[in-house]
């Protein structure tokens, strides 16, 4: 149905086109490269900086020394290379970020689809549960769980996952409601499909682009959350993450010592990773949806 406000036809979409657009989009490419860089750093950390370099007792660098050729990111209060710390920290930060997001995405998507698709009491009940979890405050829960479960990476992952899923669920629910009303769902029912089939074959694929675009945002938030929790000392005291480096740095008096590299390095890493995910997030929806923007 055209109106006199005629829109100029848009170019053809499609997967290949999406890929081309991704590669051509400099921002998305930049984001991808940054991420790949960090992933490489995280994976090669044990090789480049053997665990021995993290040992406080065996550290041989001058404490609080600024960046130099020997120590590109300077040293901490014990003389350990901050670069080594940051590289090892990447492993935990990324792991927790991705792990927590995996939990919150799967839980959020599953509950969101179910609460949007099932009418009647099931849908309503799930909706209530979502609302309930939505209002649980993040920090108090983290502290309680850390106390109960003992501070560890898994605690943090669980806390972030359990507080982040309702946001996704609401988004998914809203989208599910609109998809459920479309004729091809009715057609599927007319063909004899049961609820499971409808949700898995029709609703889920249509909700996925939204979920994936949301995922990158969620990863960013998860990493930030992990940083915060570790910084507050709720993480595993034995493991290194960017947040724990910040915590350490504060405790060791990096500010008064003027050791800007100590706090700057992990901080900048967090910012870069979050930015990278956000840049990619914008292109992912176009990339993965084979049915975007085509002429009728």
């Amino acid at each position: 149905m055209t109106t006199l406000e005629f829109k100029a036809p848009s170019p053809a979409g499609g997967f290949r086109d999406g890929m081309r657009r991704l590669v051509r989009s400099r921002t998305a490419l930049a984001g991808a490269l940054v991420l790949v860089g960090f992933l490489v750093m995280a994976l090669t950390a044990p090789l480049l900086f053997p665990e021995s370099t993290l040992s406080v007792t065996r550290a041989d660098g001058p404490p609080f020394s600024p960046p130099s050729l020997a120590y590109p990111l300077g040293t901490d209060e014990d003389g350990r290379s901050v670069l080594a710390l940051v590289a090892w920290g990447a492993r935990v930060s990324l792991l927790v970020g991705l792990g927590a997001t995996a939990i919150s995405m799967s839980l959020g998507t599953a509950i969101g689809i179910a609460s949007g698709h099932y009418r009647g009491w099931i849908g309503a009940a799930l909706d209530r549960v979502t609302d309930w979890f939505l209002v649980i405050p993040f920090l108090p829960l983290a502290i309680v769980l850390a106390t109960v479960l003992g501070p560890s990476i898994w605690t943090i992952t669980a806390v972030i996952g359990l507080t982040a899923w309702p946001g996704t669920a609401r988004l998914v629910r809203a989208h599910t409601l609109s998809v459920s009303a479309r004729p091809y769902l009715e057609r599927s029912r007319a063909l004899g499909a049961r609820n499971a089939h409808q949700m898995i074959h029709h609703i889920l694929p249509n909700v996925m682009p939204l979920v994936l675009a949301n995922t990158t945002l969620a990863i960013s938030i998860a990493i930030l959350s992990e940083t915060t929790l570790s910084f507050l000392g709720l993480g595993d005291p034995g493991s290194i993450s960017w947040g724990s480096i910040l915590d350490q740095g504060f405790q060791a008096g990096a500010i008064s010592e003027g050791a800007w590299w100590y706090l700057g390095a992990p901080g900048i890493c967090v910012v870069l990773v979050v930015l990278a995910f956000n840049l990619i997030g914008r292109s992912i929806e176009a990339l993965l949806d084979p049915s975007t923007s085509d002429n009728p």
Binding site: M1, L4, F6, K7, A8, A12
Partner: protein, 321 residues
């Protein structure tokens, strides 16, 4: 002098894969007090053509040819003159009333709005009075003046849209599929209202529709568009009763005569689909689907030939009468 005069209008959009030619040389006139119907299906360019009259085509479109209203080329006009043109000289009745009406304004206010903008009524109270009269003319009870669009029925909303189009007593009304989404009965009522208004105020109307039976009831002349060009044109009785172009014939056949036994279990069958707009090859754009096509049809594009009463662009069937 014609009220509206389109001379060899061509319009193209740029796209990543080359230019899309939406209009390919359209020549058409609308006289004062005349109702001209444009028949065609989706993608033929009829809506785009109408949009050019009020310079409503998208800024990215490249237009060539003459679009004259009252003798003045619309595309050469100063911006102020174009604004004055819109609604005061020519107004539009769109298809979906729901989309044309602002849901948070009363219908009375919406009818008054163009009058106040164009200053056709010296004061708000006079505008109000005129708006109320218009409401009565379109057959909506005056008590609904302060109602909101969602409080009216579909047929009433479309009548309000018509009243809005009449607000500044334009010389031309462009009606783009105004009744398509309505039920047959309401459609007939709305058509009646529209036609009465247009005739009683000696307005011209450009009526766009894919439904030939509707055009048969309202239009004095009909132009049939296909693939960005007019392929047949003439008085309504000539075009509908003696269609020359195979496409026009197929379109006429698509609306069976109810009660005619020859039309039982014999739905008209035209193969293929209307072409993708903007990308047309060499030769007549209809040739791939045409039951009467010959070799010459794929090599060159036929031009409109014939008399004022009936012209057709077809090598095989046309241009003789």
């Amino acid at each position: 002098m014609s009220l509206v005069s389109l001379r060899n209008v061509e319009l193209a959009f740029d796209s990543s894969s080359g230019p899309l030619h939406i209009l390919r040389g359209v020549t058409l006139d609308v006289q004062e007090g005349e109702v001209v119907g444009i028949a065609g299906e989706s993608g033929c360019g009829k809506t785009t053509l109408a949009s050019t009259i009020l310079r409503l085509q998208p800024p990215t479109a490249r237009l060539s040819g003459g679009v004259m209203v009252n003798g003045v080329d619309v595309n050469q006009m100063a911006w102020g003159d174009v604004r004055a043109l819109r609604w005061a000289v020519g107004s539009v009745v769109f298809q979906g009333a729901l989309h044309s009406l602002n849901p948070v304004q009363t219908i009375g206010q919406q009818i008054m709005e163009p009058m106040l903008i164009h200053g056709t009524q010296p004061s708000p109270s006079l505008a109000r009075h005129t708006a109320q009269e218009l409401l009565v003319e379109v057959g909506v009870p005056i008590t609904r003046f302060g109602a909101y669009p969602h409080q009216l029925s579909g047929g009433q909303r479309q009548r309000v849209v018509i009243a809005m189009a009449m607000a500044c007593r334009p010389q031309l009304v462009i009606a783009d599929e105004p009744t398509t989404a309505l039920d047959v009965m309401v459609q007939a009522q709305v058509l009646e209202v529209l036609l009465n208004l247009v005739r009683s105020h000696n307005m011209s109307m450009l009526f766009i529709s894919h439904d030939l039976s509707v055009l048969a009831q309202v239009a004095d002349r009909i132009a049939v568009m296909y693939a960005g060009r007019i392929i047949e044109e003439g008085t309504t009785s000539q075009v509908l009763e003696h269609p020359l172009h195979p496409y026009t014939r197929a379109l006429v056949d698509a609306f069976p005569v109810i009660g005619d036994p020859r039309h039982r279990f014999a739905p008209a069958s035209l193969s293929g689909e209307p072409p993708v707009p903007g990308r047309y090859g060499v030769g007549c754009a209809f040739a791939p689907r045409c039951p009467a096509s010959e070799d010459q049809c794929t090599q060159a594009e036929p031009t409109l030939l014939g008399t004022m009463d009936h012209r057709v662009a077809c090598f095989v069937t046309g241009g003789r009468e």
